[in-house]
Structures are given as structure tokens and as C-alpha cells.
Symmetry: D2
Subunit: 324 residues, 4 copies
Amino acid sequence: MLKNEQQRTFDLVTLGRACIDLNAVEYNRPMEETMTFSKYVGGSPANIAIGAAKLGLKVGFIGKVPSDQHGRFIRSYMKSSGVDVSHMIDDTEGHKAGLAFTEIKSPEECSILMYREQVADLYLRPEEIDESYIADASALLVSGTALAASPSREAVFKAVSIARDHGTKIIFELDYRGYTWKSPQETSVYYSAIAEQADVVIGTRDEFDVLEGMEGGKNEETVSRLFRYRPQLLVIKHGVEGSYAFTKDGSIHRGLAYKSKVLKTFGAGDSYAAAFLYALMTGEEIEKALKYASASAAIVVSKHSSSEAMPTVAEIEQLIADQS
Amino acid sequence: MLKNEQQRTFDLVTLGRACIDLNAVEYNRPMEETMTFSKYVGGSPANIAIGAAKLGLKVGFIGKVPSDQHGRFIRSYMKSSGVDVSHMIDDTEGHKAGLAFTEIKSPEECSILMYREQVADLYLRPEEIDESYIADASALLVSGTALAASPSREAVFKAVSIARDHGTKIIFELDYRGYTWKSPQETSVYYSAIAEQADVVIGTRDEFDVLEGMEGGKNEETVSRLFRYRPQLLVIKHGVEGSYAFTKDGSIHRGLAYKSKVLKTFGAGDSYAAAFLYALMTGEEIEKALKYASASAAIVVSKHSSSEAMPTVAEIEQLIADQS
Amino acid sequence: MLKNEQQRTFDLVTLGRACIDLNAVEYNRPMEETMTFSKYVGGSPANIAIGAAKLGLKVGFIGKVPSDQHGRFIRSYMKSSGVDVSHMIDDTEGHKAGLAFTEIKSPEECSILMYREQVADLYLRPEEIDESYIADASALLVSGTALAASPSREAVFKAVSIARDHGTKIIFELDYRGYTWKSPQETSVYYSAIAEQADVVIGTRDEFDVLEGMEGGKNEETVSRLFRYRPQLLVIKHGVEGSYAFTKDGSIHRGLAYKSKVLKTFGAGDSYAAAFLYALMTGEEIEKALKYASASAAIVVSKHSSSEAMPTVAEIEQLIADQS
Amino acid sequence: MLKNEQQRTFDLVTLGRACIDLNAVEYNRPMEETMTFSKYVGGSPANIAIGAAKLGLKVGFIGKVPSDQHGRFIRSYMKSSGVDVSHMIDDTEGHKAGLAFTEIKSPEECSILMYREQVADLYLRPEEIDESYIADASALLVSGTALAASPSREAVFKAVSIARDHGTKIIFELDYRGYTWKSPQETSVYYSAIAEQADVVIGTRDEFDVLEGMEGGKNEETVSRLFRYRPQLLVIKHGVEGSYAFTKDGSIHRGLAYKSKVLKTFGAGDSYAAAFLYALMTGEEIEKALKYASASAAIVVSKHSSSEAMPTVAEIEQLIADQS
């Protein structure tokens, strides 16, 4: 359902933040004892763009980065990864790149120290959204975090409205980061407004709870509620128990997690989304796409970074073959 | 189409600001020479509620008012006008009532000096919207100004979402006040998002231009664009040239302005909306509703206030008879 | 000690807010029942300037007013009262005049509903202080409220620094309004910083407590603390019990309150300051100045406004004669 | 003049920011090509405290650090460097540590990418200043950057006021960082207010220009202006041309720069201040103190960090001996 049948320039354009990850070089310890950090590109929609490009899709990116050394690094790294950065906008008001210092105490105990004050990505403005760029894409992925504040929030609404006008499929990656929001009620309002207009919604069970403004939500109810609106495909992830894909015609598919030597948990969701979308866009069935997604996630959690660790098709297929 | 056929408790609930108008006692002069001001309740959705109640509809109001003398006055005045104020919420954070000092230099030269910083009405929160109250109303009218800032903006999204769930008709009064918005792009994004979910949209031609993010828009194009979504009825006002009502099935109706001895122009739109909705809700045809609307507006512009001047059915019918 | 011995252009320049008072026309009732308001110029340093000019001093004013009808009224009213308004600056950023709605339930129960969000007076900037204007004044009176926020706070520091450089006497009227400050600690810091540089400090006992960051302070301790710095004269007011003037050389003078048919309590402090300074500037002794101050306050509390009610010398002397 | 003659617990307490430096591991290139960063404690008053403690003074620190991994690192590093951290306060409102990513393109081309939004150090509050801690110190050093925003600004005023009350010498290190201020006028106002109350003021010629609100200021004029107030000793630094120390009794001393194999320029001022103060506090003459200061700066600019590179007395004396 996500094949680029009209042969548009881009299979996928992702919209949202591109940031800096600072990953502990010395790990398995509290971060206060880490004295050296390695720099990577981070941020969910940037990671997905990089991952999808590495798998072979034609990928573009819409977002705002600072006019400084970090912004220039993000731009050049994404470009060298094969992502079109012609619509990555330079911030001219002194906003900074978001930062994520990762702490890896153990595979089970990972945390992130975020710097998200006055970050450039949330200053993307609706008038900076180029209609023709979205019209040239077969699918647009928007990240939930881009809804967290104005004017980026309005830029998402604008992009989604353009996508509907041009028949560009809308993929909504919930990507919920509580610290960027003022209240759960606010999140629920905007997540609902965008989810109702999306063709595909992807998130964890917890993230769908945020969308619905409740706790302990049930998949069947979530699914029946959202299928009253535009969505055709919903993917709900349950961590190590695997994930479920629901289609509007009533089919349900389950994807199981692959075994992995886990180093850290960061980046799992982004690599999942990149491989899942790659498979659907190259014409695979949902079952196969779920395998790709889980395999890709299993590979990334075994490595040190999120963006640089994004696997190739060969690596994914090798892991699937190894564990069949 | 707006008849309360399910016999719900309220014919109409309006949502948005209830403020204070301070009208020049000595007029036909610049305001700096006015030394005395009369106090009235003001704000578009409050005026519409008062006007509709005066005409005989069962009306409720959702909004936030300050916990001070102005807030208590607003509450008691609206209550005495027949509006249900059980869901008027007291602000507990020290926000103030919006103020509008009116300057009447001449019937053609009226202006308003607004106090809109940190006003209580824009602090209505989504979690303060009572689902059952909206479910008990046949129609919900939301004012565009309530979208101007968070958290009131999210409260509108929440209310509209509840109204859709319960089959409460949604009326969107554009009510655009430029000074309350950060940018025209922002306004266009949220006006579009709500208009697409409304059953009825009412505004001036200029306000529809704001909604569409353009200048010099044409009614036919506006209408064909919005009828792709939920709206069933669109009313576009052209000042002294009259107004047009468009229905989704293709009919177009024109309402002509009545003659009036104009004192000031304030309040015309609110009295128009109150009488138009009253007529439709009591089962009149659109043609008749447009006459009621124009007559009601003609009466209010000849008087000193907006809220207190709202006419009765008898006054409206008298004016229509006089000018037939 | 405040005589204009160098024959400077101005006897007194006051610095701070000039606002709008909206006084209840119908009083002895809660404000929600008041339907009409009369407009006056208000704000402590504006009132003192008007009062001092009316008594015959050569008075100037430094402050920022909005570029709107209220701003133009303030300017023209103060000018017509004899105050030099050449250094009253027009705000060009849309800030508004502060408003004070007065509620007079009874002579003992008066309150004020303030509008102080984004008011023009607090946007006076240090670079807008004209050195030569202060150099041309024999005394500069700064109002404590002007210290409540940046950039007005820095403008006060700048003005005080210029006054010291040019031998302009510095009078600090504490004029504490709690709602304009973030915390009592902040107030104490800036009140102390300015009081230490002032020649004369005038305030109520409660206001001196705020300055000292304590409750229940004793006059002797306040006085001994502040006389370690620049102050020469301290005036501490105790309401109906009268007021005390302390001089650095150790003398203490007590002023008693005059009887009055009190209508409301607003404006008492401003009329006190205006008459006290007038007396000292015309060469009277402190004893006489305290009488003038008390008589002036007694007159203003018996009248409806603060600014317009400022008495003449003849009225003050009449009251003193009547009650001797 | 700075000897701890009363045998107070601390020779020196510094007040202001303690932050994180992230220094390029791979340098002599633009930062976008640096992939690894080393973490150090940074921030002028923290560096001076560390440097002074390393030289043997009894040093304490007043400041606020985040309740996170970076905050815990700062606390433990400073403690292990011999600084008393009993009055380092944990921020409980989620503010972050300031960050400085250093870029070393060449010894002549160094720059810093700062993260200073909502940093914990600027949230130190006046009520968090402990009177007895300052009373127990022979000298208090306040950093100019701590004046950049409220409430830290008020905490500085409070600390300086306490120091005056207890005879604690006040050292004002101008430490001007333009990006933390709203306007040069604001800086000039607060720098002047504190400089006038300080015993010693240390800064570059450019920083004294900022204090005086001018460009191209002359040392003699600066000195004659400030000696009208409390200062006894002024140190004005002219980069490679050396520095000048002026005393109130009219003496002038010049310190010359030592030769050094410069790696980067960061940290020079902090190491200068630490050694200069150490020398005066141990009873050396100003001439000797200037030599210590210059030698200490020459050592730090040849090394990779600012804090960790702070020299010992032996290293300083060795360099002085080598270049005599």
C-alpha cells in the first residue's frame, strides 16, 4: 500500500528534528564517570531518513538545523548517507541543535540527558513548507515530537494538509517524548488531530495511550476508534513481546522480536520504522515487513549508535536467515 | 438543518471569551476626550449567547472568567440574560478579563482599544471541557479567537472532537482579531483545521481570506474547497453589500442589509449570528434566517452597546415589516 | 535641604509610571454593581508631579506611555496640569497604559483591580534617560514600582547614577505594589540598592519592612541601618498614627494626621509626598513640611480622584488653620 | 591587601557558574569534523576556585548545579580538587548545566559553541545565599556573568551586600559573555552597580569598556572614575601586551606576558585570576602577583583543558625562573 506507484521523485520524505547524539565512549557505568563522548546524528525522523536511504529508498528530509558547527555536521552527514537535504532549512535566529547525552549503565539501564531548550527543529515555520517537495514524494512521515511546540506544530499541520491535497501518503510516527510537552492533554489533542488524517500510524502501546489520553488502553478499541477516520494501517509495538499490524479491512499480523546481544535500547524504534517502511515501499507483504522491522531493530540495539548503525538489506536478511 | 430534533437540553452552547466592553459615554469625539465609560459584557461568543437567549433559545456558555469583580459581573449579567453559566469556569491563576474601550468618532470611524494580555478566556484548558455538557447540546458554536493561544486552542479541538462524537452540530464563527495572533500563517492553519470539521462556518469575506491564507479570495473557490470536507452550510458576509449563504447541495442565497441609523459598527456580526441561528433552529428557511440576521444587525448598530442592545423577536419582525 | 539653590530649570523631576485610573461613578457598593467609570490620570510619580506642579513647583516627568488614546490623554492632562512632558516617551511596541479600576465599598473598604500586564511604563529603557534633563533638575524622585521589571529597572539605576554625578538630590518613594514583583527577596535587593544611594527615602512602615526583607521592623533600627549610607532624611509613615521624619544628624519629627471626611484611601500617599517636598523645596522646616503633607493627604482622601483632587497651597493652609 | 588576616575559614569563596566544557579530542580542524569530545568542569568562577585550591588556598564555591549526571560530575570533580562544595545547591526545577563545545581550528582561531538556555547557574536565588558562609570568607569573588539574569543577578547583589556587612573583601571578575545579556546598556548598569561596591575589579580592557558603556576607553579615565567609589585595586588586561594593576594610592604596575606554545586561548583569564589572587593572599607584592598571574595563564593556554590544566606553585615558579 505504500509503493511509489506514481514514480515520484521521493519514496519517503521525513519531517521533524535532526539533532546530535553524544554517546558515552566509556560505558557500563553512570554518565558522571564517562569522560569522553562520540558525536552522531540523532533524532527519530533523521534516523529513519538515514536508515531508509541506507536500505535503498529515495529519501528527503524537511527540518530546521542551527547555523553552527552542529548544524553543518548534521547536514553533511545526512547528505553523505544519501538523504536529500535540499529542504533542510538553516535557522537564522540563534537556536541550537538538540542534544542527547546517552548513559549506558547496563543493557537494561539506559537513560538520556536531553538538551531541548530553544532547539532549532521546533522553529520550523508553516510558510517554510514547500508544497512541491511534498507533492513530489510518495509518502510523508511526520514525527510526533514535531507537534510539541509552535511554530513547528503548525508546520506539521500545513505539511499534512498539503500531503492530503496531493495524494501523498501520510505516516505518523508517534515518537512521544514527554519532556517536550506541556501537558498530556495537549499531546492527546494534537496526536488525535494528526492521527485522524494519517494513512499509517506507528507507535508503542504506551504512545497510543498518550494519543487516546488514557492509561492501559486496549488495541482493539484503539484500532476501532482510529479506523473511523482516514488510517488504513496501524502498527502497535509491545517491546519484547513483538508488534501488531492492523489493517482497515480487519486483518491482524504479529511480528516477533529477534534475539540480539543488546548493548543499549536507543534507536530500536527508528530502525524498526525504517525497515518496515522500506519493505512495504518495495512491495513486500506486511508479514515480511514486520520481520524486516524486527531484524533491523535487533541489529541497532547491539551497536553503539543509532544513525550510523542502521543496517543494510544484506545484514537484515542475514539475521532473518540466521534465526529462522 | 439546525433544529434541536433530539430535544437536547440546549439548543446552542457557545464557547470562547466573555469580556468587558467599556463604551464611551460621551461620543462623536476621540477617546482621549471621553471622560466616562459605561460597562457591558462583551466578546463575540458571549454576545451571541446573550442574543440567542433573548430571542428564546435555550443557551449555555463554556468559557473562563477571572475571579474578580469583572468576572462576577460577567457571570451575573449573562445569567440574568437567560444564559446557563453552569460551565463558566473561574480562573484561579490571576488572569484578567479582556477589555475593549470603544471609541466612536463618527458612525464611519469607530475603533477599539483592546486589553488582551494574559486574559482569562485564553486559559480555558482541554481537561475543563465537560463531555456531557456538549452531548446535551444540539449545536456548539466555537469562536475563532478561542484558537488564538494555548491552552484555549486545545480546548477548542477537544470540544469539537466531543461534538463530532455526539452528533452535536458544530458552528464555527471565524471572529478574527488580528492582534491576538502571532502570524497569519498560524491563523490559517488552525482556522482550516477547525473549519474542515465544522457543519456551519460563518464569517466575513476577509475572514475567509485569513482562513485560506490568501488575499482577494473568491466565494466560489472558497466554497468548493470547504465543501470537500464536513461543512454543510457556509455564510460569507460582504458588509453593506449583504451576505451569501451556500449549501452543500449547491443552493446560494443572498441576504440584503437593512437601513439603519448607524451609531457605531460594533456588535453587528454577533447580532447577525444570534438571529441567523435562532431562525434556523426554530425551523425557518435560510432566506428567512438571512432576513432575521440582517435585521438584528441593523438594530444593534443603532444602539450604544453590543450585548444589552440584542433585539427581541418582535423588534426584528417589526423592522423587517417596516422595510418590506 | 531640598531647595533649588543652583536655580536649575526644574525643582523636581519624577520618574516612573503614568497610568489611567477608572474610578467608580456609583460607589459605596461592590464594583460588579458599578456600571460607569470616570477616567483620571493615575500612578504615584505622575500624581506627585501633578500635585507638586499644582502647588507651584517647576516639575518634569520621565516615563513611557502608550501610543494610543490613553497615552495621548495622559500626556495632554499632565501638560495642562503644568508638568513638563518633553521627556515623556511614546512606546512604539504596542504596550498599554496600566489601569486601576477603583472599588469603593465604604471608606474603610477600598480596593483596586489592576491591569499591569505588558504596561508601557515598565518598558522605559536606560538608553532613553537623558543625562542633561536630570542635570537640569534640583531633585529626582524615583518610584519603587519602576524597579519592578526590566528594562525600567535598569532605567532607574541609570537615572540615579546620573543624578549622583550631577549633584541632583535623589528622593526614593518606596511605592510598593506587591503584584508587580516576582518575590519579596527581589524587591528587598533592589529597594536596598537604590535606598543606599538616595538622599531622601519616603515610605510606610510596611514598605520599609519590604525594603529590609523582614516583618515588624523597628524605626530606630531601620534608620540606623540606612544612615550608614547616603540618605540624609527618612520619612516613615504609620497611617492614622501619623508619620516620622528622621534626619542623619539625629533629629526626629512627628507629623500628626488631620481629620477628614474620608471617601476613599487612594491617593493619600501621593498627595502627602507632593506637599512634603513642596514645603522643603520652598525652604520650610521639616515640622511645617509634615503639616503640609498631612493636610494635603486629608484633602485628597475626601475627594473622588487622586490626580485631579490635588490641593492648592491655599486649600492646604486653610485646612491647617481650621484644625489648629 | 587580600591576606586572610582574621583567619577566616576560607581565603576565597567564588560565586557563579560551574558548567561543562566539551573539548575537541581531534583538533586543528573545524568542529564539524571533530567526532569525539572530552568532558571537563568549566565556567570562570569554578575554574578560579579549582585553580586557587590547587595552589593551596582554602576555597569555597557558591552556585547552583543541575540534579543530573552533569551536576553530579561537577560536584565530585570540584570536591576532589579541594574546593568546599557545601554551598553548591542542587537545582530542583529541571534546569541544565551550561555547555561549552570548544573548537580549536588553530592557536589563533578558537571559538566556543555555547548552550546557555535555562541553565541552572542563573537560577541561584538571593534567599539561597548563606550569610554565615560569606562571613567566614576573607574574600568573595563574583563573576560578571552571574549578573546576566534574574534571579542569579539578585543573588549577586545579596552576596555583595552581605560581604560589605561582614568585611569580606569583594573581588569582581568582569567575565563578560555577550550572548548571555539582553543589551549592552543592561550590562553597563549592573557592572557599574557592582564595581562601585567591589574592593578589586579584574577584567580585560574590552570588559571595562562594557562596564563603562563605551568603546575605546582609556585606562586613566576608567581608573579615576572607579576610584571615586569603593575599589582599591583595578587590574586591566591587554592580552599579549600584558596587564596593568592600579592602586587607589596612585601606583601603577605592569605585568608582561610569558612566552608559551599556545594550543588554545580558553582558560587564560581564569588561571590568571587564580594565581594573581593566590599571590596577594599569601602576602606577595603586586609585582610578584602579576608575574604569577601571567605565568599561570601561559601554562594553561599550552594545555588541552581549562580546569584540569590549572598549574601548581612549583610549575608557575619553574616557568618564571625559566624565562627570567
